[in-house]
């Protein structure tokens, strides 16, 4: 039992067996190609087709059968003659003879894409056939060249488009440089037919006539991509898929760890942006929604990859729908929360407060960063600070980068003879009142001890209250000619118009100093360049040392004197 195909040769219908059809089709393609350069190609090929049809009709009539088989096709082809038998006679210019010679020569290979030995489209195999080497070397060269900015890929695609595929037997023989004569054809045909018969199940892509119709590039491309994925590409895809899956597993574990940390242990990174705006009463729900929003896609990717890699059944439809709904809900919740948060930033509020500072007699002020830990009222009570930590300083070991830009200090000239500090608190809120309330609820710690002004690193807001972009601008007004010594630690908080703290240190050639000295002049705060330090002569240094030595000797002498005196008093008693 054989499959038959119905063909139409110039209006006459024939039933033909599949194998026979393949041979006939290849023959007609060869014939068409042979006469392609002739002006009368259509007429000649039509004549030949008509004659073939007539011969088929005669064969069917004489043998009284209905289906054309392979043998009939071979009979007709033998009578009509092979294309290479056409060559010698019909052309009348002498170049034909030379052409025919080249064509008959075993060395005369032609470049085709090899459809029988292809990984992607047969370009490499075709080139290898052309140079009569193993295709692996060409493939290797292309694979390596892909890494040079993909230049190999571009070349490959161009070659794919430009090089024709070896469709007919004549093409394949020309590609492999086999002798194009009747014996060669016969050998080739027999070899190929046996191969086709043996591998018919595997080679369905080659044997199906419909595949030959996919001659345009897109069809070709799709087919080869498909084959690529089915074949060698499968391994690469599997490796990539496996890597992605591992990454996704890592992400899933990280997400679970994160969820446990924030909801179970309340280990929230303090002050970092996305966490600082989350109101604590909703925090757990928000974290859960965020977790679901991120976790479900990760799990989906893992499940999909597993089902592709190991050919397992994908997840149940109902479960998938349910998960999708859960995911959409959590996304909706997050969006709702984001809108809610945004609404809390609609209005801004500003509160100013003037603090009068005590003037110092020598008009020198040291600006320092507070190193005292701030304790809330509750904390103070719990620690019982007054009794337990009496006369102790609890140092600030707070290293978190908490909302780092919410304090800025500027220094201007005061109109009065004592320094004045103007604190301006600002915050955002749902409406003006809310914004003002948020600004008011902040707490900035500042204290003055004689000539030392201690500034805190940050503006405090109530515990458990979300961030509302609270910040404070401090304007320190100091009297004219006041010396302001700014600590290095405070340098990035202080806004200076001219030379900054580091620049001032450089000017005074004191790169290692922990502070810089400025002076308030009529045109604002200026770096005080210490001319004495710069112009110190060795003699001056010598005299200073001598004075210091004299002071030390005098002090030691005084100690000795007092000791002697005490001694004498005891003796006297």
């Amino acid at each position: 039992m054989n499959k038959t195909i119905i063909i139409n040769i110039n209006g006459i219908v024939f039933h033909i067996e599949e194998d026979a059809y393949e041979i006939l089709k290849n023959y007609m393609t060869d014939v068409k190609r042979h006469f392609l350069n002739s002006d009368d190609s259509l007429e000649i090929t039509t004549d030949i087709e008509n004659r073939v049809a007539e011969m088929f009709s005669e064969l069917l009539a004489t043998e009284n059968k209905q289906v054309i088989v392979e043998q009939d096709v071979n009979t007709v082809i033998n009578q009509m003659g092979r294309v290479e038998d056409f060559d010698a006679i019909y052309e009348d210019n002498s170049s034909t003879t030379i052409d025919a010679d080249v064509y008959n020569n075993t060395g005369g290979r032609r470049l085709f894409r090899d459809p029988d030995d292809h990984l992607i489209s047969g370009v490499c195999a075709g080139i290898a056939d052309y140079f009569n080497i193993q295709p692996i070397w060409i493939r290797l060269a292309f694979a390596l060249s892909f890494f040079f900015f993909g230049s190999g890929l571009l070349l490959y695609i161009i070659l794919w488009i430009v090089i024709p595929q070896a469709v007919t037997r004549a093409d394949r023989m020309a590609m492999k440089g086999q002798k194009l004569n009747l014996q060669g054809f016969k050998d080739n045909l027999e070899e190929e037919l046996s191969a086709v018969k043996n591998n018919l199940s595997n080679m369905h892509n080659q044997a199906r006539p419909t595949v030959y119709k996919l001659r345009d590039f897109i069809g070709d491309l799709l087919m080869h991509i498909h084959l690529f994925f089915m074949g060698a590409g499968k391994i690469i895809i599997k490796i990539i898929g496996f890597a992605v899956m591992l990454a996704m597993f890592g992400a899933a574990i990280a997400l679970i760890a994160f969820l446990v940390a924030v909801t179970g242990f309340h280990q929230v990174p303090n002050g970092l942006f996305p966490f600082s705006i989350i109101a604590n009463e909703h925090a757990d729900r928000i974290y859960l929604a965020a977790f679901i929003t991120a976790f479900l896609p990760v799990v989906t990717i893992i499940v999909v990859i597993i089902s592709v890699l190991f050919n397992t059944r994908s997840i149940n439809r109902t479960v998938a729908a349910l998960l999708l709904i859960v995911w959409l809900c959590s996304v909706g919740f997050l969006i709702g929360f984001a809108v809610n948060v945004a609404s809390h930033f609609r209005s801004s509020g500003k509160i100013s407060q003037i603090v009068n500072l005590k003037a110092t007699p020598d008009n020198i002020y040291y600006l320092k960063l507070s190193d005292v830990k701030y304790l809330t009222h509750d904390d103070s009570l719990r620690l019982d600070v007054k009794n337990n930590f009496h006369n102790m300083i609890i140092n600030n070991d707070d290293n978190h980068s908490e909302e780092p830009n919410n304090v800025s200090i500027s220094i201007v000239k005061s109109d009065v003879d004592h320094p004045v500090m103007l604190e301006t608190f600002m915050a955002q809120g749902y409406d003006d009142a809310d914004a003002l309330l948020n600004a008011h609820n902040t707490n900035y710690i500042f204290n003055q001890k004689a000539d030392i002004l201690s500034f805190d690193n940050r503006l405090r807001r109530p515990e458990n209250s979300p961030w509302h972009d609270e910040h404070v601008d401090i304007t320190l007004q100091v009297p004219l000619n006041a010396k302001v010594i700014i600590d290095q630690e405070l340098s990035y908080r202080v806004q200076l118009n001219g030379v900054d703290v580091n620049g001032c240190k450089d000017l005074n050639k004191q790169e290692n100093a922990t502070s810089a000295t400025f002076i308030m002049l009529d045109n604002g705060l200026q770096c005080k360049v210490d001319t004495v330090v710069i112009t110190k002569t060795p003699a001056q240094i010598d005299s200073i040392r001598r004075i210091n030595n004299a002071k030390t000797i005098a002090r030691l002498q005084a100690q000795v004197d007092s000791a002697l005196m005490a001694d004498s008093v005891q003796k006297h008693r």
Binding site: I44, R51, S57, G81, D85, F86, Y90
Partner: protein, 120 residues
Amino acid sequence: MIVENTQTQMRKGILEYCILSIIAKGETYASDIIAELKKAQLLVVEGTLYPLLTRLKNNGLLTYNWVESTSGPPRKYYVLANEGRLVLEQLDKTWKELEFAVHIAIGDRIPPQAAEPGNE
């Protein structure tokens, strides 16, 4: 190779003359021409004939008529055009000359009956 070349050249020239001669006998179908040529061992495959006929037709030496066939598609029956007739007359003359020239050149080397390969 040189031998093959010469043979091809000789056949090529004679082939057209023979085709025209066959058609000159009356309306002829391609396969009839083939049959005659095969008998003369001048041509073995039909495929070669179609381009030749097409070329001769395009040069105005031949015309053809479509004739319905009982088996298969309509057939082309070729007839000699007027110009073809003139060409054939010239070729006849040339052939006589060639025959004479070849006969003189060969001389007694080949017996006359052996020169005809068709006798079997």
